[in-house]
């Protein structure tokens, strides 16, 4: 399968600022994308998802943007807090039949500075 990757491996932001984490995907047939957060020593935790028929989806303090033209996905975190420090992965859902195989990118380490 084709890969899902990230532009930047690390990102540091000041507490209270907004964070933007980017992700590029290469499979133009992908139709469903998910963002996961992984804290040290823990398993990934679902944040938000978006289908390819949407450009934007908002959650609590998070927004995901999808640009299918350039195959780019971003996660915006408003008013970043220390608890947001983690590795963030974008993932592509293959969705073959009933299968829910996820293909993860390599992740971005977000560090929130006091």
């Amino acid at each position: 399968g084709e890969s899902v990757g990230l532009h930047l491996p690390t990102l540091s932001v000041q507490e209270g600022d907004n964070s933007i984490i980017n992700c590029a995907y290469s499979n133009s047939a992908s139709d469903y994308f998910i963002w996961y957060k992984q804290e040290s020593g823990k398993g990934p935790q679902f944040i938000i998802d978006i289908r390819s028929n949407m450009d934007k989806r908002q959650g609590q303090r998070v927004t995901v943007l999808l640009n299918k033209t350039v195959k780019h996905l971003s996660l915006q975190i408003a008013a970043t807090q220390p608890g947001d420090s983690a590795v963030y992965f974008c993932a592509e859902n293959w969705g073959r039949g009933s299968a829910r195989q996820l293909t993860f990118g390599s992740g971005t380490q977000l560090t929130v500075l006091p």
Binding site: Y32, K42, G43, Q101, L102, F104
Partner: protein, 115 residues
Amino acid sequence: GAGVSQTPSNKVTEKGKYVELRCDPISGHTALYWYRQSLGQGPEFLIYFQGTGAADDSGLPNDRFFAVRPEGSVSTLKIQRTERGDSAVYLCASSDARGRAGELFFGEGSRLTVL
């Protein structure tokens, strides 16, 4: 239990040995997944169960890897003749068919070290 439980949390073994990793999913979740995560990388899909059957095992790297879920709940990932390259964190996840398609609930993983 409240979340996905994986045991052991850490396993150190010697090259060539046999290893079993256990996953206890969230009660009522019919789908169960195994992923493998190497240091500094994202999780890599291994296998997916729907009920007792393996719906997709395309991610298993070779025939040394095998997983079962005999009663549709607890699953065991079995690795024969372990190699140093098998060292990784093995993550289990479960999901509810009524939930969002990509919302998997992951355990904290079993860290396998092959010496």
